[in-house]
Point group: D2
Chain length 256, copies 4
């Protein structure tokens, strides 16, 4: 798959130097792009860590380097009724390199996923109101609530000797929302997606907690110091502002 990626590239500068040789940053990226024509890169996070390493070699005065990237990404999905559709996601990756006697490297991989959240609070109030008004519907039919587009991002540190597949992260985030969304939905599918969202109403706080709990299960052998960042943004349909939940933590903290 060919991806169009944006890069942010940093090197530090010792107090003894006036400016950084910025053209070297672009040369490193250019080299790697050219090499990738001959041999595709294995992952975005390895690409970032490769650039970081070369930056520290090329900027011999620097002791720290950081690279971050984002790229649009597409996956073929099946709708609830089994129709094919192509969905857009965003891949993210980052690497930080620190030079002491040797170079120590941290790398991370992440995704941004757009899905749907349905509000549990409004649903609860409306269910309660209807009960009071004697308009009881059968208990297995979810009542109305507000629902909206949700944008959630997850960035996970990939410890030495471990691997994280971006596709797994996309699945994990999508399953943590009220429902995934699809570009093509005929009527039957549309109804299914709406029903599914109303059967799993979630606050942004719920989405973040759900993701962290699934992450801990799936990557149970990750060391305590491995870092995680999750952020979930609901573009509230009943407000003009967004509701946001965010947690920046470590696997160690999550295990407590």
């Amino acid at each position: 798959m060919t991806l169009t990626a944006d890069f942010d590239i940093y090197v530090d500068l010792p107090s003894t130097m006036k400016g950084s040789h910025l053209s070297r940053n672009l040369e490193v990226v250019s080299e790697i792009v050219e090499e990738s024509v001959r041999e595709p890169v294995s992952s975005l996070e390895d690409l970032c860590s490769d650039i970081t390493r070369r930056l520290l070699k090329r900027h011999e005065y620097a002791s720290y380097s950081e690279v971050r990237t984002r790229a649009d990404y597409f996956l073929e999905r099946k709708t609830p009724l089994g129709n094919r559709t192509t969905e857009r996601y965003c891949l993210m990756a980052a690497a930080q390199g620190r030079r002491d006697s040797d170079v120590s490297m941290t790398k991370s991989v992440g995704v941004e996923v757009v899905g749907m959240t349905a509000c549990p609070c409004a649903m609860e109030t409306i269910k309660h109101n209807r009960a009071q008004e004697g308009k009881v519907s059968s208990t297995d039919i979810p009542v109305i609530t507000h629902n909206q587009r949700n944008r959630t991002s997850l960035l996970v540190e990939v410890p030495e000797g471990h691997e994280v597949e971006a596709n797994d992260l996309i699945d994990l985030v999508e399953e943590s929302m009220s429902a995934p969304t699809y570009e093509i939905l005929k009527r039957g599918d549309e109804a299914q997606v709406v029903e599914r969202a109303h059967l799993a109403p979630r606050f942004v706080e719920d989405v973040v907690r759900e993701i962290l709990s699934r992450l801990l299960k799936k990557y149970s052998d990750f060391p305590d110091r491995a870092q995680v960042r999750v952020r979930s943004d609901s573009e509230e349909s009943i407000h003009k502002h967004n509701a946001v939940a965010e947690r920046i933590t470590t696997f160690g903290e999550l295990r407590k």
Copy 2:
């Protein structure tokens, strides 16, 4: 009320001139801002038409000038249960001046409003599905559907001798959506907004039609040539793309 406004300012350039005296544009705006400290401007569209007129005076070589502006705007509103809340809107205005023997001027005023739409199609399908499954709920309880944040803009030409209040346009747009939205909603209010939206499910096409129909009624004495532009964008909760409806027309066309 003090507004922070952005301006786009244009003058045409005859083929005999190399460049425009751009600093004159900024001088005109600056003059008007200074005068407005002493005497507040009556309306954004009059401000635009004043700037346009002065531009044509100052750029003696120009035969056309155009000014467009946007500003954040706030109104105090009451929620369904009567609680006070302050809501954010966007005001827009524009003026075009053409110099022949005399200067002819067109001015417009507009608003951008964020509200809520609930989908009539999913609601219909789900109602039908439930009937088929024998899960009939009482007919006066709306069934679930997807709903979302909707952003609708309306720009209306203000013909000579007529007036249009931006607040009226805001009301008109807000009433044409499934429901207005509010920054502060306690539980009871939240339930009311959700119920209201589900009792008036609307496509973006419906929002545009509703606005045009109300506009024609309210400004029934506007001449046929007066122009209107409406655009409604729903940030679909079940898709990653938006649904948009737009119509650019005249009062004459609408009367047909």
Copy 3:
């Protein structure tokens, strides 16, 4: 080359219908994306016109359809001293289809290019000031002025039976600025780019005129009714606002 493209897709709606079958739009795009895996598309504008045609077939109630697209695009370039660099551009294309007894189609192709403009006015004033102060430098050395990032877009209608290469449009726009810009510039190259820009100082008005004049020469056999839109934006380094020139015209108008 694989491009990631964004699409805006429109069909009109007769007054007798409540809503449009939006999922059909996405199905058409999806079909074409799938077919393009087997057989790459020849051009973005043909892709747009193909989508437009199928939309009119699929939405049998519609009499008008429009498709617009944008995609990031990359070209290998040589710097003034002959070093290789990869530069980012934006491709644009559009198609409009109208159904009467038959379907009539208009298609356009365009580009957005980032380059550099140096201001002729400040240069003139400073040259004049220095002459007055007796600080005359040799006449072949350009004096200082302000220069800045410029973003220029060009969209040209492609009449039936004609062809326009996006790469030609990119060259044409780049040559109409004060200088092209490059992602990798070692010192010698950097000096060359700066010198070049100061030898061709240009207002945004100049950039637009230069493009239109070159366009008329290159596509001299285009019919009078073929449309052109050029817009040049300089992110002025001495102001906080931008300077913009825009012209929307036809080959016929340009020939006058």
Copy 4:
């Protein structure tokens, strides 16, 4: 002065609670907006710290709260030749409150300023090239280089018992660039701004260093733990990418 401000508002959530009472956040902001009608707020950072304190009172389950704000801001300036012009800036402020036995509060104030940088490196190369070609100009005339729009932000912690005026920060940042920019410049003024920028060529690294050095001098009595964040972005006129320098540090670090 009336400012239109955007707020980001956060409270933490104990693991024992499902969701946060989000409407309380908006109620607090609303209260304060209403009170400010009667009694204007003294500073944006005090406003943030007031909101933060009330949030902790209202969300009795929370132990941490954070508020960030941004607002457009305008100052009257004099151009080099003494003409009046109104310039746009951005004010920023933030507060973090932590509840233990008592509430501890940190507050910060900041600005974002748009100005101009001229590149010292291209200037040096071109000067050297001209000397080699025998085209020596008198040494007091600066040679050409590329220059561009620069956007620099500075955020400073305001320690208990100290005060920081946003206007002082704006002056400090503006003086650290190659030249300030102005909305209205007649020819004589335009030439002055260009000359000034070429007499003080600066990399983004220089801008950041200059700001930190002036800051340390001006607020010499600030405690070591007070934090500072500076970021300078030049929208390079010879590249399509930006050059960025950033430093996040403390007064203690700066004193080393």
